[in-house]
Symmetry: C2
Subunit: 208 residues, 2 copies
């Protein structure tokens, strides 16, 4: 007899399987070209089974955005508290650069943004995800300011928005321009920003 826990695990597993298949299919064919029928075939499930978990392609995309949000938030939470802003950003940039090794991942990210620009359901989810990541990163900026690692004259929200925008813009560019070296640009961006906020090892005495 299956316990309730086992049943839930099974539910979660099948949901994960569908998401994994959807992600692979969207990466391969693009989000627009993939149909729910293709997805059922890729997941090896009947339409009835797939629709039990996800009512539409929108529901699948919002679940993929949610998974990405959770991954970035946990990456930020996993950063050692004693790390200053710049080392933290370098660690996060490494994660972003590792994602780039899957070229299709990048296309899928751009397509998700394109879908969000027309589809209010996807837009709400993606905007909420960005705001959560931004708030978490702003927390790291504020801590670095309190500890006197960076100047406290820069508005944490503005700096966070600039950092995310610069990296999103870089990803967007890399998605279609092979002449851009993502690692070189990311390193240069962080150096520029580090210099601008006077990043250095923490010192006693707090705010500057």
């Amino acid at each position: 007899m299956r316990t309730k826990g086992a049943k839930n695990r099974n539910h979660g597993d099948r949901r994960e399987e569908i998401l994994r298949a959807a992600c692979g299919l969207f990466i391969r064919d693009g989000f627009h070209a993939a149909s729910m029928k293709d997805l059922c075939a890729a997941a090896g499930m009947s339409p009835g089974s797939v629709y039990r978990y996800f009512a539409s392609k929108d529901a699948i995309i919002t679940a993929l955005i949610e998974a990405d949000r959770a991954r970035w938030l946990s990456a930020m939470d996993a950063l050692p508290v004693e790390l200053g802003l710049l080392p933290a950003l370098r660690a996060l940039a490494e994660q972003g650069l590792a994602d780039l090794e899957t070229r299709g991942f990048l296309s899928l990210w751009v397509e998700t943004a394109a879908e969000a620009s027309r589809n209010p359901v996807v837009a709400r989810q993606l905007a909420a995800s960005c705001r959560d990541c931004e708030a978490r990163l702003a927390g790291i900026v504020e801590r670095s300011q309190r500890e006197g690692r960076i100047v406290s004259t820069t508005d944490p929200k503005l700096l966070t928005r600039l950092i995310l925008a610069a990296f999103d813009g870089l990803l967007l560019r890399v998605a279609y321009d092979p002449s851009v070296d993502a690692r070189e640009a990311a390193t240069g961006f962080l150096e520029f920003i580090g210099n601008a906020v006077g990043a250095q090892a923490p010192r006693k005495g707090g705010r500057r």
Copy 2:
């Protein structure tokens, strides 16, 4: 009897009409949903006439990218030479912010990037357009450095890439997140960058 000049003008006019109709259609329905058939109807032309000018949707998109490139390059060329980097960026940001008043324009821009991430023909055109704009902007950065308006320690190519990435990333965000105030963010970005490069009125003595 029509002269050759009149014939060329007529050719150019019809090409422009098709592009205008395509732009309106793509903005309204999205790039993927619009078909060549829809486009013929929107332009009020027969398929034969439209295909005489553009062999495919790709050809139309690349023509739209080319028109956008020409518009930005001429905006940069029209900036008074005595303008320093920061006032020049403010003027360009105003043009970008004015574009945002047409919401669909923004979606079309994101969709073009998404198409470029999968379609090599569109990718080549968009990448070339970015590189041209980047080179022109790097020229403005270099002039400001020579005139001692900004520090000369920042690599002009890196700074240009960061500026374009930050503004592209901001546009991308604005495309799906109505909580982001594009003007406020753009102003903040330019202030941060201006402070970082020590922007000021030109002084005698050149490089710092």
